[in-house]
């Protein structure tokens, strides 16, 4: 089946020797030269139909991906780290305080310290193991893997000795020896066959380690085997004087979890202090803010993809990990399928857009051809035709994108006060059309507001104008203090964007002026409070709010354009939601059933595709069998199934039936009878093979001793 393979030849499906080997070496790496022929053939650029596509540099898409993704990845890493800094600092302080407390109360004298055994008899009754409970607020531990690794690194950098354990180390199979082994490997940096606490103790006293706190972090304490964890804690308690370990336990649920896992005596040995991490939604917002809005580094996701990811996050998955992976797949797909994607590098690179118009890659025929096709680039085509002003297109793109992002951030600052998440706002902003920005639409009427609130309560529904409209309406409800704070934030967010920044400053100064005026008036009339004062207070406040609201509206009207009007949006916004969905989630359950029920679609054979929806003998047998299964309940009688299968496949096509009827000679009848007995075996064999294939796909359960004549269905409908 090499590229030149003749479609007539069958693939080699005979059972060869290698098929029965558990594993084998297919081939060794060919001698590698960067410009070897094979490499060129593999790294075809995405449009193989275009002969000149070969001229692209082979590694260009891959290098683009590497650059884009390493950039995004490091941004995400930094965001998550910064998000946790305060919690980490708190834990660090607590660790050092606890360590000082330990040192102050119990220091073993030299002889006991160097003996081989713990000092169980001398353990003071009140001595406890200092334990930090870190609430992850997330049942999915996958998001917190990096958090705990970061915590370990943070504590290490502050002079602690740290070991990171997970629930896998606390399995019943390996017992307490297993986790001790991991512990020793991480602390001593050497594998030890017979793990013992005394090894750890002597290591702790031998070297300069003595003055450092010993920390053991366990990622997901709820998943640990409870008896192993109990033993581990009891063991630590015995050694509490010689090896003063401090525990940091990741807890997904609540403080009760510990009581459920540990026995009461082990619980008593722990002196607990609690810390809290941010929620997944907070992290998500932080990532969106920095990756998609702040960095303006080029790659972005379009409205369909963002809506899909939002729904998936809120309804199904709830992890940031999936979102990050989706970003990664999107980047890869975009870079691979879009020949112009290397332009994105110019947005990330520090070299900027200089020399772009003369870039070799851009002067090539396919690149120009593709660029001329993009509707968003029409404005930048020079009159002579085959030339595009890349520099101004890119700078226009940067300018518009920056304006767009900063205004979304400004709106988010408002929405934050009523807990509107950036994820919701971002998805909705991508969907907005310019006509939505007129004042009437943004100030929602009462009814719309009610539905918006309703939507907010049931996450997962995205409605036009829901969150954006609500954020605008909120501006009317803020107090002067809150407005001031918002304006301060806006001032920070819009720095570097001349168009908006000046106006925000103007508004700020107006604000302070009016506030002063207001205070002055208030002082004047404070002696005789009347209804009029209140009224005046109220009206001045509302005028302030109106001013801010109308300012934001005008900014939106003026600077926010639809995504489609941003130059190069085809390259920057990835929006192929179907491709992303299949690559990310797969869905074998549905797809494999669909394969079986719609085999004609894929095989495209001339024999079966004519009779649509009718079972014909020429169809794939497993496909016939599975279609027949659909007529049964959850149990399928094998006998009946076999007969209906036989009826389908031995049903002769109409033409041959006619022929039979026309020549009823006894000889022929005999022949057909013979043929019939011949096919009995083969029909049964066909039946067996189809059942085996369905068994491999897991769509059937085989007959058991209790129900020997039935198979059980597993899949139900698409």
């Amino acid at each position: 089946m090499a590229p030149s393979a003749d479609p007539e030849t069958s693939p080699s499906i005979s059972t060869t020797n290698s098929d029965l080997q558990p594993f084998f070496l297919l081939h060794k790496a060919a001698s590698r030269k960067p410009s070897s022929k094979t490499r060129r053939r593999i790294d075809l650029s995405p449009k193989p139909s275009d002969a000149s596509a070969q001229e692209y540099n082979d590694n260009l898409p891959f290098d683009t991906f590497k650059l884009l993704w390493s950039n995004t990845q490091s941004i995400i890493k930094d965001v998550l780290k910064n998000l946790n800094t305060t919690v980490f600092d708190g834990i660090d302080k607590w660790v050092h305080a606890s360590f000082d407390a330990i040192r102050a109360s119990r220091t073993p004298d030299f002889t006991t310290a160097t003996s081989m055994y713990p000092i169980p008899n001398n353990v003071p009754i009140g001595a406890q193991i200092f334990t930090a409970l870190l609430f992850t607020k997330n049942v999915e531990s996958v998001d917190d893997i990096s958090t705990f690794a970061d915590l370990g690194a943070h504590l290490r950098s502050n002079g602690c000795l740290v070991a990171n354990l997970t629930s896998i180390d606390f399995s019943a199979k390996n017992g307490v020896g297993g986790c001790l082994k991991t512990l020793l490997r991480q602390f001593l940096l050497a594998g030890i066959d017979a793990p013992e606490m005394s090894i750890l103790a002597s290591w702790y006293y031998e070297q300069e380690n003595y003055d450092k706190p010993l920390i053991v972090i366990i990622d997901d304490v709820e998943r640990c085997n409870s008896s192993v964890l109990n033993d581990f804690i009891l063991m630590l308690r015995e050694w509490v004087i010689k090896v003063p370990i401090i525990l940091v336990l990741g807890v997904a649920t609540s403080v009760d979890a510990l009581r459920n896992i540990l026995c009461s005596s082990a619980c008593l040995y722990l002196s607990v202090c609690e810390f809290n991490l941010g929620t997944p939604a907070e992290r998500m917002d932080a990532v969106i803010e920095t990756v998609l809005l702040r960095s303006c580094q080029g790659f972005n996701i379009g409205k369909h993809v963002s809506a899909f990811l939002r729904n998936y996050f809120l309804r199904h998955d709830g992890t940031l990990t999936l979102f990050v992976k989706a970003l990664r797949i999107s980047t890869a797909q975009q870079v691979f399928s879009e020949p112009l994607s290397f332009v994105l590098r110019k947005l990330v690179n520090e070299e900027g857009t200089e020399g772009l118009n003369g870039d070799n890659n851009l002067l090539r025929e396919p690149a120009i051809k593709r660029a001329l096709e993009l509707p968003s680039l029409q404005r930048f085509c020079e009159t002579r035709g085959n030339c595009i002003d890349w520099v101004s297109a890119l700078s226009e793109l940067k300018r518009l994108h920056q304006l767009w992002s900063s205004l979304v951030m400004c709106l988010y600052e408002v929405g934050r006060y009523r807990k509107i998440s950036l994820l919701d706002l971002y998805c909705e902003m991508l969907k907005l059309k310019p006509q939505n920005f007129c004042a009437n639409d943004l100030n929602l009427v009462e009814k719309d507001y009610a539905t918006a609130v309703h939507n907010y309560q049931s996450p997962g529904c995205l409605q036009d104008n829901g969150y954006v409209g609500r954020a605008f309406q909120m501006l009317g409800d803020f107090s002067a203090m809150e407005l001031c704070k918002i304006l301060d934030r806006w001032e920070m967010l819009t720095r570097g964007i001349a168009e908006i920044h000046e106006k925000v400053k103007e508004l700020q100064s107006q604000m302070t002026l009016e506030e002063k005026q207001l205070r002055h008036d208030l002082r004047k009339e404070s002696k005789k409070p009347t209804a009029r004062t209140y009224k005046k207070d109220w009206t001045s406040k509302s005028t302030l709010n109106e001013k801010v609201a109308s300012f934001l509206q005008s900014m939106f009207r003026e600077y926010i354009q639809t995504i489609e009007s941003i130059p190069l949006h085809e390259i920057i916004f990835f929006d192929n939601v179907d491709n992303l969905h299949t690559a990310l989630i797969g869905d074998p359950r549905r797809r494999i059933q669909a394969d079986l029920l719609e085999s004609r679609k894929f095989l495209k054979c001339s024999c079966c595709s004519k009779n649509d929806g009718v079972l014909v003998p020429s169809m794939h047998h497993t496909s016939i069998m599975y279609t027949l299964v659909q007529e049964h309940g959850d149990l399928v009688n094998v006998h009946e199934w076999f007969h209906s299968f036989m009826a389908v496949i031995s049903n002769p096509p109409l033409q041959s039936k006619k022929k039979l009827r026309m020549s009823p000679s006894p000889k022929k009848r005999k022949d057909s009878k013979e043929a019939r007995t011949k096919t009995d075996a083969s029909i049964q064999a066909e039946f067996c093979r189809a059942v085996t294939e369905l068994q491999i796909t897991g769509l059937l359960r085989m007959p058991t001793k209790r129900r020997p004549d039935y198979v059980q269905r597993v899949g139900f409908g698409l």
């Binding site: 794939h620 083969s682 085996t692 139900f716």
Partner: protein, 361 residues
């Protein structure tokens, strides 16, 4: 992906389920038996089974060949750090091995046949480490490794994995590609194997391409494995090719409830086992051939004989072999008159002789 559609889908699924349940309870349960089918002789059935042709050969070939245009994309995704997971109806063995041998010539490729019972991941990892070591040596990038290192096959799994997860050195990447046929196959279905595979896939020097056939395959993995270790990129590639090798160990449903072992399947199972396991089996077989009328070989005798011949070192290893035999119905137990557990092979003497002859080859 509109929300209404999603709800409709979920509703549709549950509706189908309950309709099927109802259909089952309301209609009278058909009492017709499998044995009522005019079954042909088992030998004949197996012969016919072996001779079966498959339909639409041309269309299947066209379909499989049509995936060749995607090879470039697959290689790209593999280089971007994803693991490729091929799913869809039909055997994908030919397809992914062809992909590996035409498009992945830059890397050494090791194929694991997950449909076999006897995959030993430790051995696989040792092979992978050896390949990588060789590759690094030829690229002369191994200067910082001590020369008189422990041989790879005596190192522990953790050490091997940390070697495979070593940093990439400057001037080109070294990868070893692992192709796993049926990553959801019987030998790999336990969580420990999947954990090891996931850790392997996460190594910086390893690229992974795998195929899966079972509709519930995703249940094998947790989110950490799927998104951070395997880092799957799903490809839907139905081939409709027959599951010839994959289905070899499934007894045909119409073959007398699959209890009678034939020499053919028994020898295939035995050949996929380790040499020691084969020898243990031969001890039982020899005993049975020597005492054709006996009740079988007492367990204690078997242990003594195997120990004497250095086939097993403890009762535990012997039990491991026996469990494997029993799972494949190669060996059964019964009590003899003294109350001892005896092992016997459910085959006639002729068949057994033939089997012993085949595994001796």
């Amino acid at each position: 992906m509109e929300s209404n559609d999603l709800e409709e889908e979920e509703f549709g699924f549950s509706r189908n389920y309950f309709l099927a349940k109802e259909l089952c309870s309301s209609s009278k349960k058909s009492a017709r038996k499998v044995s009522d089918i005019n079954l042909v002789d088992e030998q004949e059935l197996r012969e016919a089974y072996a001779k079966l042709e498959f339909k639409h050969e041309k269309e299947i070939n066209n379909l499989v060949n049509s995936y060749q245009k995607s090879y470039a994309e697959w290689v790209f995704m593999l280089r971007c750090g994803f693991g490729l997971l091929m799913y869809g109806f039909g055997s994908k063995k030919v397809l992914i091995e062809d992909f590996a041998s035409t498009a992945l010539t830059d890397y050494s490729v090791v194929v694991i046949n997950g449909y076999l019972q006897s995959v030993n991941l430790k051995q696989v990892t040792v092979t992978l480490a050896e390949l990588l070591m060789e590759q690094l040596k030829t690229q002369r990038k191994l200067d910082n490794h001590p020369k008189n290192q422990q041989p790879l096959n005596t190192q522990s799994m953790d050490e091997l994995i940390s070697f495979l997860d070593g940093p990439h050195l400057e001037g080109g990447d070294s990868f070893v590609c692992v192709v796993v046929n049926n990553i959801d196959g019987p030998a790999l279905r336990d969580s420990e194997s999947q954990q090891y595979l996931a850790r392997l896939a996460a190594c910086s020097h390893i690229l992974m391409v795998a195929s899966t056939d079972h509709v519930n395959a995703p249940l094998l993995w947790n989110k950490k494995m799927v998104h951070t270790e395997f880092n799957w990129y799903w490809y839907h590639v139905p081939t409709y090719a027959p599951y010839k090798v994959e289905g070899i160990f499934f007894p045909p449903i119409l073959a007398h409830s699959g209890s009678a072992q034939t020499v053919k399947t028994a020898s295939i199972v035995l050949q996929s086992l380790t040499p020691n396991a084969q020898k243990v089996f031969k001890v039982v077989a020899d005993h049975q051939l020597a005492n054709p009328d006996g009740e079988g070989m007492p367990l204690n005798n078997l242990y003594t004989v195997c120990r004497e011949r250095f086939l097993v070192s403890s009762q535990i290893t012997l039990n491991a072999h026996l469990t494997e035999f029993k799972d494949h119905e190669l060996v059964k137990t019964r009590r003899n008159s003294d109350g001892e557990d005896c092992l016997y092979i459910p085959l006639t003497s002729d068949a057994l002789q033939k089997l012993v002859h085949e595994i001796n080859q």
